[in-house]
């Protein structure tokens, strides 16, 4: 399988978790109050500032074959995460989710609270206010957050290698660049790198054009 096909198989399932969970966390960070919000804020920052290898090692300690949860998964469900695309997806979630949450927080914070208040005080439920006012106004910012998170997941290297390891299922484009280089396959490393540059730039430009049109 081509490294980009592997990347897609890793990134897309990761985004299924990252986008809704990150948006929900971002909303709570933007509108919530109290110690719970402060705790989440700190919790979200930690994986953002830690070296990805440390994040990956942490995942290995918990979810690896000898980890507390990992050994249970293997015993009860015969599920192994190391060397699988599921493991690589988990690594991608771990690094992309905090980024999604912080970017989504900014998107929700930009929505004028007076506009939500006008909906609530005139009788709309919280859910209806979110659907009719908050979400549509936050959508461009959430799209930006999703783009950022997707690119971060696509570019993920350190946590993936440390936790999920290098196998046919985890050989995403960034890992292949590294191992092609290690094995002296310079042409392959270069072509994969260029492809990553093109994909990332195209995604950034497409988003830029779309956000200007709105």
């Amino acid at each position: 399988m081509s490294p980009f096909a592997v990347s897609l198989r890793v990134v897309l399932p990761a985004l299924v978790f990252v986008v809704p969970l990150g948006a929900a966390a971002g909303h709570f960070l933007a509108r919530g109050r109290g110690p719970l919000r402060a705790a989440l804020d700190a919790l979200v920052l930690v994986p953002l500032v830690l070296p990805p290898s440390v994040v990956g090692y942490g995942l290995l300690l918990v979810l690896g074959r000898h980890g507390a949860i990992g050994s249970l998964l293997e015993k009860m469900f015969d599920v192994r995460l190391v060397f699988t695309s599921a493991g690589a997806s988990i690594a991608a979630v771990a690094v992309a989710l905090p980024l999604m949450a912080k970017a989504a927080e900014a998107a929700f914070a930009r929505v004028d609270k007076n506009l939500e208040d006008a909906a609530l005080a005139n009788g709309l439920s919280r859910a209806a206010t979110f659907r009719i006012v908050t979400l549509p106004l936050a959508l461009p910012g959430l799209a930006a957050a999703t783009t950022l998170a997707a690119l971060r997941a696509l570019g993920e290297f350190g946590a993936t290698l440390t936790f999920a390891g290098y196998s046919s299922q985890t050989a995403t484009a960034p890992l292949e660049v590294y191992f092609a280089m290690q094995q002296g396959k310079d042409a392959r490393a270069l072509s994969l790198s260029l492809a990553l540059v093109v994909v990332s730039t195209a995604a950034a430009l497409a988003f830029h054009a779309w956000s200007r049109k709105r």
């Binding site: 208040d117 609530l120 005080a121 009788g123």
Partner: protein
Amino acid sequence: MSDLVIDVRARAGSFELDARFTARSGVTVLFGPTASGKTMTLRLVAGVDRPDSGSIRFGDRALDALPPNERALGWAPQDAALWPHRSAIDHLLPFATAARARDLLALVGLAPHAARKPTRLSGGERQRLSFARALAREPSLLLLDEPFSALDDAARAEMGDLVRTQAARGATILFVTHDRPEATRLADAFILFTSGHTRESASLP
């Protein structure tokens, strides 16, 4: 008919509000200089700000114990607070049937602009739309914060008639204005605000 009984204390920076008054069915005009607590009082009744202490009762319901969306009131905030992504008619559809939404737009003179978004409405038209939104559910409590300040005298009188119509069907209306002729024309009672304190009055000072 339902009385609105307000007895609240609230603080915003160095400003302290101590509002105590009763508003009966009809139009109660809140009158006083800028930054004397009129908008703050309306926001407390609407439930979008919380008082430090005190109570707000409407009839037999303790409004202060309810979230804003369960207070069953209409609120036209000072800056209109329209939704930039929604057309005029789409400001009313969450609250009313399509037929009633069209009637409301016609009532406030916005029928030709149903499809316009707020950026394509004038200041006065934005206020009319915000007023229509507050009326949409026919609430028995209406909070109108300088709702017609951007309208000319003729349009103001026309909208004033609509406010009187609401009073005639028994609604309790808090109406903030700086305009003396408008205040005297609409009011059944006055609450005079001076630096955070309130006084009930039968006329303007």
